[in-house]
Point group: C2
Amino acid sequence: MPKRVDHDERRRLIAAAVRRIAADRGLEAVSLGEVAAEAGISKGLVQHYFATKDAMLRFATGTLRDHVEQRLGTPATLRDTIVALLPLDDASRAEALVANAFLVRALKDEEIAGRFRTGHAQLAEVLTTMVAAAQAAGELAADLDPAREADLLLAVAAGLGDAVLLGHRTPEQAIALVDHHLFRLEARETGLARAIE
Amino acid sequence: MPKRVDHDERRRLIAAAVRRIAADRGLEAVSLGEVAAEAGISKGLVQHYFATKDAMLRFATGTLRDHVEQRLGTPATLRDTIVALLPLDDASRAEALVANAFLVRALKDEEIAGRFRTGHAQLAEVLTTMVAAAQAAGELAADLDPAREADLLLAVAAGLGDAVLLGHRTPEQAIALVDHHLFRLEARETGLARAIE
């Protein structure tokens, strides 16, 4: 089905152009003309695939999700997963910017909100499983609630991500803070004392 | 100087209109016509005070900062301060949305970036002082590095703020996670064991 593949590729090409513009100048700069120019195709072709700006933005958030999942892949450790959530290279930085650009819109558009919600829930689930596995391996304290720690870890990653993005903290400082947070969750001799107090 | 006061009030009126539009529909919706309509004044009057959209946006981020500081006020405890950073009511929700709307722009506009940086540094300083005070009062563990814990607390608040804003977590869940994080920082008998291990 060569024709079908071609259509999908063109949609992805357009979505990639939308994301680059959003990361660079925000959603306010996403227009038919700008997207066509960025994608190197005609306005008519953009309109052929996406009748409205909303439709284009919705599709762009869908491919964003794919990119995040691809980038996370199957990291070896909980720590690697948290660090992979930080905007430490150009690709992850662009993703964080695009996600931020879409945030206000996510509150008004149920389809985009749904994608954000699903992404957050999936990440929370992955982290919960990893915390539980680290407990089973004796690395993290046995008295931790995996789901609660996953929520907190997601918040730490999101907050540090913004700080790195805005240049308030360096990537090295952010990683050190992740390690500092994780250190407190580690299994150690005082774990028993804490559990029975 | 009645005339001078009037000018300041009009600028603030316009900035408030910019913030309401940004919180509701994002920066993409901020235009001369929309701002004039939202503020209930003529386009010509808006232009009289702000020659460009950039000038208007810069001024709006300045008043945003004032609002955040006013709202934080002088909270009694570290916990109250962290909770006050969360978008739990309409005013703080609007502030968080506006800050998000301005994030991409902050990366391109040195003046707006400077305001974000100053705000982050001031908050970090306030929290560092509060952590140190809580240590002196014997509430938080003596072996904590106040500046490091302040950084982590800011990240937790920012990350939980996004989760609440997007409806991924309820205000109650976010507050419970703040309390859970703070609980681990508390001074307790095992503190000594941890310090000497």
